[in-house]
Amino acid sequence: MKSFARRFYLFLIVLFLYMPIFVLIVASFNDSKILGTWKGFTLHWYRDFFENATMMNALRTTLVIALLSATIATVLGTLACMTMAKMKKSTKNIIVGITNIPMLNAEIVTALAFMLLFIGLGVSLSFSTVLIAHVTFCIPYVVLNVLPKVQQMDSNMYEAALDLGATPIQAFFLVTVPEIMPGILSGFLMSFTMSIDDFIITHFTRGSGINTLSTMIYTEVRKGIKPEMYALSTLLFVTVFILLFLVNYGPKSKSTKKHKSLTQLMFKNKYTIAVSVCVVIIVGIFGYQLLKDDKEYIGDVYVYNWGEYIDPEVIELFEEETGYKVHYEEFETNEEMFTIVDKKARVYDVICPSDYMIEKMLENDLLTEINFDNIPNLEHIGKQYLESAKGFDPENKYCVPYCWGTVGICYNKNMVNEEVNSWSILFDEKYDGKILMQASVRDAYCVALSYLGYSINTLNEDELKEATDLLVSQKPIVQAYVVDQVRDKMIKNAAALAVIYSGEAIYMQEENDALEYVVPDEGSNVWIDGWVIPKDCQNKEAAEAWINFLCRPDIALMNFEYITYSTPNESARALIEDEDIKNSQIAFPDNSVLSRCEVYNYLGTEGDNLYDYYWTIVGGAESD
């Protein structure tokens, strides 16, 4: 009875530990995109994964970094062990302690420390900074594995080699290294595993255009989980599992005498295998790189854009047509982007911030004027949009509009049986628990201030207080303040009303035709995201080529169809074949809508602080 209980307990623990991974692995072979429904076995997520350029790129970066950092760490760590083994015991213990601390230190602390160090030294984050950080955190693992082997080794062996006529270098490579090879090998494998495994340190030290599998997964899942991710994660899990298995059950120096020669043989083979695998991977990677870059490569362009904000094919077309290699990176919020650019943590050539952020960047002197001689395609951009852009770029010198839209209400006709034309419906108790709000200060206050008839850029404290009270009083009937989930929830009929951007609305309508979108009569926000070139850009010509390319009508059309946000490119609009969309009031509202909308202005630090202050009151208020 007791033993049954114990076994059951063990079973629960194993289940608890491995269930999530098991689910993930099963999902990676599931033909259905929807978790929980099994539609049959398939490998096509794996195929998709291998055909996905971004993922393969990340895979390559991961392997290169893992191999390089493991190799460098193994060399450095082994040399350190040779010295450490000769030290006095007390000194050695102190040194071993010091090398062990980074292993136990909270990873986030190490990561931040690295980032601060690099930025403090004025080193832009890049491939090398990731590599340096990885080498550093791998060295302790090498020491951990190699030092005991060095100490176990009879020190006379090295001397015996000298005695037999070997020079110190020959003795080291012919005797010492092979004798401690099991330790070196497991140190290398462990470093390799740790490097592949790492997310936090990579995330904080990576430069523009550098993505490893883990940081790539992190960026991708923010946009929604694709089944390729299951495939990738499964591969990652299996790889790490195998590596750890090799580390723990690999060649052991202590084996029974009888099987010694056999193990030795196996060890030799395994050693050869490990080396050849490394060689194959390295040759493969660089061969691939050579093939890929064989085109008329003329330079690099580092692009920083919102997630899911471009048709990936456009990037490929740009590379093919211009010969520039695009390093494409994504951000999630304007503020995140600002910190990176302002602190010069990573350097980009061309960025796509929103209106108010462009204003803020201008105020901080972070942008450089665009040479419009290089952007002949600007003629396709509607004059009224350039006019609106003057709200943040008064002379139209710094920014080329890319996408625009309004903030409005999306509602489900099956749940809302009345005409929607005012923000007031969001405060109607009838819809208790069926309202979704945007979890961003400005959008939340846009709703309240517009409803109250104030400017959405107000700095009047009374007006802000009033708006705050309104939001606080509304909170009990709000289902949630959300960032990304509006789409899914509305499509799945999980809410009746939501504050949403017009671009999202078009997509949502395609998925669920009960959904409607309106810009309330009280007015709202019109936003414009545009391409700007930062001051510390490395390749201005490339940046301008990029902007010009995106303004080409056929390209702008591809992006419009992919992103579904309104395009300011009138020639592109003219090319739209679907009449419904071409004339959609959501995508291209008439001027009456635009005229009642305002852009967000940059409010200055004090203004931001004021909004943030009131926003925390809303955040802290009782919900239901």
Binding site: N156, E159, A160, L162, D163, L164, P168, M181, K260
Partner: protein, 357 residues
């Protein structure tokens, strides 16, 4: 035996404040089997490592075949070492171990193969080519270590307590084996041991060391029969060492009794140490002895009995083929030829202390 092959001149060596060797002078002749004998920690290994080139002396010179090699690294010296723990390369096969030195010297493959065969035959381990080092027993590893060294045709083979880790039977076999090897190869052996029996069995010359000083150099017979000081006497075999006074030439007094001896030239009434080997003590009826005592212990040792006799406040160690039961009153007699007189140590350094084996 030939000329001086190795000459250690005024060698001193310290580790930190610890002086291990102090002004050591020693020469080794060609084709000699020389043994460094002494308790552990006395500096034998250090001396050997200085000859091998693994340590540099703080002072003094190492001369090899007339050339100063004090600063020559080990890989340039024409001698090879068999290390205390063999130091076989565990990642290599036996054949690869033996071939190591030859490969470094880029010898042709056929030559190397011949040498491996020859060396394995010499150490009675033919057919072991493809075994791994640590699948072998201690004695076998020992012999491989020797094989690995001698294929390089060194002029001198340095062996550091090579038999220390072996059990008694194996040890005795290996002793004969080593002597045979030495004769077959016709090279110089410098052998380190703390086992006096081993040293007496194998050596042409024994160097007795203590605390970094040479106590006595000589043939085994000389060292055994005529120890120059109490340390040597005590360390080589069992001895009764008794403080006494040299009354005059050929007469010594100890334990309140006067004994005839054959030593001369110590002066009159000089304090000395008297050494008497246990097999040289004669037990007789009480009235026939010079002094009287009582048997306190008795052990049968195979070829003889070993007894302890309490007489005049000293516990005598006695070996005899005749058995005297415990409690028997006995008399003690010593033939004048078997009484060995030694000067008292002049300095503290020379004093025999710290025999921990």
């Amino acid at each position: 035996m030939g000329n001086k092959l190795i000459d250690l001149q005024g060698i001193s060596k310290s580790y930190g404040k610890h002086m291990v060797l102090d002004d050591l002078n020693l020469y080794i002749r060609e084709n000699e089997f020389l043994t460094l004998l002494g308790p552990s920690g006395c500096g034998k290994t250090t001396t050997l490592r200085i000859i091998g080139g693994f340590e540099k002396p703080d002072k003094g010179r190492v001369v090899f075949d007339g050339q100063d090699i004090t600063n020559l690294p080990p890989n340039k010296r024409h001698l090879n070492t068999v290390f205390q723990k063999y130091a076989l390369f565990t990642h290599l096969t036996i054949a690869e171990n033996i071939a190591f030195g030859l490969k470094i010297k880029n010898k042709p493959k056929a030559y190397i193969d011949d040498k491996i065969k020859y060396a394995l035959k010499l150490v009675n381990l033919d057919g072991f080519e493809n075994r791994m080092a640590d699948s072998l027993s201690g004695g076998q590893q020992q012999r491989i270590a020797i094989a690995r060294a001698i294929v390089n045709e060194p002029k001198v083979l340095l062996l550091d307590e090579p038999l220390g880790a072996l059990d008694l039977k194996l040890r005795q076999d290996m002793q004969y084996e080593l002597i045979r090897l030495k004769n077959e190869l016709g090279i110089t052996f410098v052998f380190v041991t703390h086992d006096q029996e081993e040293a007496l069995t194998m050596s042409d010359t024994i160097v007795v060391m203590n605390q970094g000083y040479i106590q006595q150099v000589g043939t085994p017979e000389k060292i055994y029969n005529e120890p120059e000081n109490a340390f040597v006497a005590d360390f080589i075999g069992d001895s009764n060492i008794i403080p006494g006074t040299m009354i005059e030439d050929e007469l010594v007094e100890f334990l309140n009794a006067k004994f005839k001896c054959v030593d001369k030239g110590f002066g009159n009434n000089t304090p000395v140490d008297v050494v008497i080997r246990p097999e040289d003590v004669e037990l007789v009826a009480p009235e026939k002895g010079i002094i009287q005592g009582t048997v306190t212990h008795l052990i049968f040792k195979g070829v003889h009995y070993e007894m302890e006799v309490m007489a005049n406040g000293f516990e005598w160690l006695v070996q005899s083929t005749k058995m005297w039961p415990v409690g028997t009153k006995v008399g003690i007699k010593v033939d004048p030829f078997n009484i060995q007189i030694m000067n008292k140590p002049e300095s503290e350094d020379e004093e025999a202390v710290g025999v921990d084996e």
